[in-house]
Symmetry: C2
Subunit: 230 residues, 2 copies
């Protein structure tokens, strides 16, 4: 009765409100210092330090020493994906942290999911790429088609570098607010970076929200036309 992996450790990490707050804060994709995380979670630096060690030992976050700061990030793509899945389950069961706050609609519209775009905008982009035949179900999960490769180059992505990386190019991730897939993986991360580079959007100062500029939104809507389903 004891075969298979052990969920318990990870569950215990998520089960404490302080640690959960830290992890959700890190879902924003930015590396945060121990002090910032302490403030974010509402505890003293001492308490936060202990939690960070636990999270690190459990393999959920990575810590990088830099000067006299210690920056924490999620340990990887998979951690973000698992968190998003759990957020979806929690949302489905009606477990809300507080009565949906004013910032909630913004989060549902567009947010960062660790390192790629999520929310309505993320789903729109995914759907558009699928509808135009740029993404397909390959022999191993998702794949970029030949026309898709051309599109990516045109969008300003460095495909050669992305494909050289160990990280899979395309992954799908179930969006908690839309309950549909959005694009993760190296390609998803590259698209989000490109949105920031080109100034179409910028990340909110705190939390995971992504806000588009007016023109950026218009350009995004033509680049990822929502009605483009063939």
């Amino acid at each position: 009765m004891k075969e298979g992996p052990d969920i318990t450790r990870i569950g215990a990490m998520l089960g404490d409100p302080t640690r959960a707050n830290m992890l959700v804060a890190l879902m924003g994709g930015k590396a945060l210092t121990a002090g910032e995380l302490a403030f974010e979670a509402g505890v003293t630096a001492a308490t936060a330090s202990g939690h960070l060690r636990q999270l690190s030992q459990a393999g959920l976050i990575a810590i990088r020493q830099q000067g006299r700061h210690r920056y924490a990030t999620l340990a990887g793509d998979e951690v973000g994906h698992a968190l998003e899945t759990l957020l979806g389950l929690a949302a489905a069961n009606g477990h809300l942290r507080s009565r949906t706050g004013p910032r909630d609609p913004g989060l549902r519209a567009a947010r960062v999911c660790y390192d790629h775009l999520a929310g309505a905008a993320g789903v729109q982009a995914f759907d558009s790429l699928v509808a135009r035949g740029f993404l397909e179900l390959g022999p191993d999960a998702l794949a970029l088609t030949a026309p898709g490769r051309a599109w990516a180059q045109g969008f300003g992505l460095d495909l050669a570098r992305l494909e050289a990386a160990r990280r899979p190019l395309c992954r799908s991730c179930l969006d908690w607010s839309e309950r549909r897939s959005h694009l993760a993986g190296g390609l998803g991360a590259a698209i989000l970076s490109r949105l920031f580079e080109t100034g179409w959007a910028r990340r909110g100062d705190s939390g995971r929200a992504v806000t588009f500029t007016a023109t950026g939104r218009a350009l995004f809507d033509t680049a990822f036309a929502p009605g483009a389903r063939s």
Copy 2:
């Protein structure tokens, strides 16, 4: 700093070894009585009863009264999927419940993931369906193609009934042992049932293992030819 769903409650459920054992036991897809779960988790009936109430209130399991027994099952597809995701993360981080036991290879080869087939066999089936063009990325997630529909009828599935159900027909689920997708959703569940009906395979008495008969395995391999990638 308090927007979005609240993971904490679900995390706390998974964080206790007793509850985690119960949930993993329920991943086998069979409905289990309170007593069976108590034995499975190694606690008294009194303790198990308390945990079952908690899990039920958190929305992770459903309880059905039947005679003097109370049968528990996972609350649904999404719970199974979330658990599988966490199992994957735990496996990736090397959190094992004990040094991989003798039954572990069997689990990796073929097992039940709540109500559909997982493990190497599950991935093989998914790949085969994709390679033959029976599954495609539709406008909304996965879709069965026209030839796919014909295949499903030929395999003995009642497509009309499946499509009438509220439940989505096709979903992909990331397999923890293979780290690749296998097929979930109504179609995935129907295929697994069919494997049992036709006697190609049967579920292990305890746990999640699925064992094929010799001829069943051969038939499965031709029905879901692994090399069938066009």
